[in-house]
Symmetry: C2
Subunit: 346 residues, 2 copies
DNA sequence: CTGTTAGCGCTTTCAG
DNA sequence: CTGAAAGCGCTAACAG
């Protein structure tokens, strides 16, 4: 169709700053300034330059910029299972805080093994990042080392009980689990199970809280802690509830590692004709969007994920420049949302 | 604590290739080769070099590498609402195909407005990407232009009815909706509603299919097409079902834009004491993990999201090098999964 | 198999 | 407010 367009693209060597400069009759550095620091260029020149930029379709080369300025403006987010429902709000918080800044965010989604996490971290570190946000367990000392040596602010998010390499923002999962467990006790449940998936760091903290409260009440039974080493899912929730009720027909409630498990447990209860909350109480974790709309609505622990994302970026922005590490830990708190799935007379 | 460590980090100018080279007693380029093309360096030198690299904690600078080689190895994925449940499988497919290659993936998560999508696309283009994967409607001609001019392979994913800027892989959403609608008719439902959220491109295609089938059957009623211009969610599904049954008590089934809406519709039906599937049939879209575990299980259209991700990367890898654009369109097909939520005698 | 030379596209000095 | 020179860290292309 359009010969000219096609030809231009084929023969088209990349348009550079000096191409633009030449055409605009100025030097390269002036174009550079007009683009990044318009104030420092006289209005008329600026206009000329910007229109030439537009006309030629000039696209700055971030690699060259990063190399010359030693500043990539990139904030890397490493989140295993980034695509879990739980991360929607987290990502929104991040984006909202980044938008008005001149940083840019990029996500990496490593598998659950620490090898892959290391790879992804190295990729980011290879890009002179302005900051790093890490979600995850950090079981591996190699990861810990890498974060500790990172030449940029690092924020570990979600759980705050670990001593962070640099900064951390999140909640205390142990405390949250204690609160939830106490709630189940208050509602009169006595044979309370814990249903979970992979025992990562957060899960372990939650189990600790669960155990502490039940032990204090003389009601802890390790046999009621069920989990399978896979990603959590609604299907897993079904499966675990099934196993629980088959092996322990007297179990009367479950604290679930997250809302997916809780939803699965709810569905499976319905399938079994088990009345929730009368015969069986269910408490989740996270307050995913659907929890409040389920029938009955699912009691859960709200984790301020939006704010965690927002604050994480905020910390990075504030830490930029100051060479020293601050060891800041920010506890954003949690909130037990009592809803239908545990609503019976204590 | 450790004075040495602290001091080293403070005074530490970035370790470069030539630092390593010097310490290993070779030239920079040899180190470079030892790292990227170990075969081209004698085994003994290679070992020395690699151990020096390890010892000094050398981290290559991707910006410099990209600048010098004009090859960033970066594949950018632009996905509005990356963090929808629906993308989990898609991302897994991408990652699985990328892992054995020497490419690396990075995700950007623009807001729904095309302005933000443009920004994110430009960011990637500024990095000389090896490829671009774009999920989304491309309502905007500016986006279309950008993709068309992109100096790298571009794959548009999910829907294949648009003429792609370069390549596309996905399914035909119109056809899929037709199949689903026909299924509802087969099951004897007659007052069938369509429940949706934002009317993006995919949604419009689905509506077309829905409408075509019902019109052919003489059963199309535009009043039964309900939607609200927000992100879809379970809560929205509840809301829409509520509105539907209030305004049209005789409505007896709903084709939902996705499984979140369907799940909300299911919960709301339960709350209203409406028996699914006897009194009301529900069909979703996507086959999210929970759909098969709900009670009753939700009939839905399976979209091969894992494979879409996998193939998208595959197309980029294959297209790399060949300068010309191929206009490849790959239809991966869909599958109607008939389950409990529509399972009644026709 | 190893090294030399040059330069990627941009920005940082430092001058005017 | 504008420009000239130098170089960021790495790799292509050619030699040896």
């Amino acid at each position: 169709m359009n010969q000219i367009t096609r030809k231009r693209r084929q023969s088209h060597d990349k348009i550079t700053l000096s191409d633009v400069a030449q055409k605009a009759g100025v030097s390269a550095i002036t174009v550079s300034r007009a683009l990044r620091d318009p104030e420092k260029v006289s209005p008329q020149l600026r206009d000329t330059i910007l229109s030439v930029v537009e006309e030629m379709g000039y696209v700055p080369d971030l690699a060259a910029r990063a190399l010359a300025s030693k500043n990539s403006g990139l904030v890397g987010v490493v989140a295993p299972v980034l695509t879990s429902h739980a991360f929607l709000a987290f990502v929104r918080g991040i984006e909202d805080r980044v938008r008005p800044s001149d940083l840019r965010i990029q996500y990496a989604n490593p598998g659950p093994d620490s090898e892959d996490q290391l790879r992804q971290l190295r990729f980011f570190l290879s890009q002179n990042p302005a900051g790093l946000i890490h979600v995850g367990q950090i079981a591996d000392t190699a990861i810990d080392d890498l974060l500790r040596r990172a030449p940029c602010p690092v924020v570990e998010v979600m759980d705050i009980s670990r001593e962070p390499a640099d900064m951390a923002v999140g909640i205390d999962n142990r405390l949250a689990a204690e609160t939830a467990t106490r709630h189940l006790l208050d509602k009169g449940y006595r044979r309370i199970a814990m249903l979970g998936g992979v025992w990562d760091f957060r899960a372990r903290r939650r189990l600790e809280g669960f155990k502490a409260v039940l032990e204090a009440a003389g009601l802890y039974d390790p046999a009621l802690v069920l989990s399978v080493d896979t990603t959590t899912s609604v299907g897993l929730g079904c499966h675990l509830l099934d196993r629980l009720k088959n092996d322990f027909p007297d179990a009367d409630a479950a604290l679930c590692h997250n809302d997916d498990i809780a939803l699965g447990a709810l569905f499976e209860s319905q399938r079994r004709g088990l009345a929730v909350p009368q015969d069986f109480g269910i408490c989740g974790f996270n307050d995913l969007e659907y929890a409040g709309f389920a029938f009955p609505a699912i009691t859960t622990v709200r984790v301020p994920r939006y704010e965690i994302g927002y604050r994480a970026v905020d910390l990075i922005i504030r830490a930029t420049g100051s060479a020293s590490r601050s060891s800041k830990i920010i506890d954003l708190g949690y909130q037990l949302l009592e809803r239908g799935s545990t609503d019976r007379k204590g």
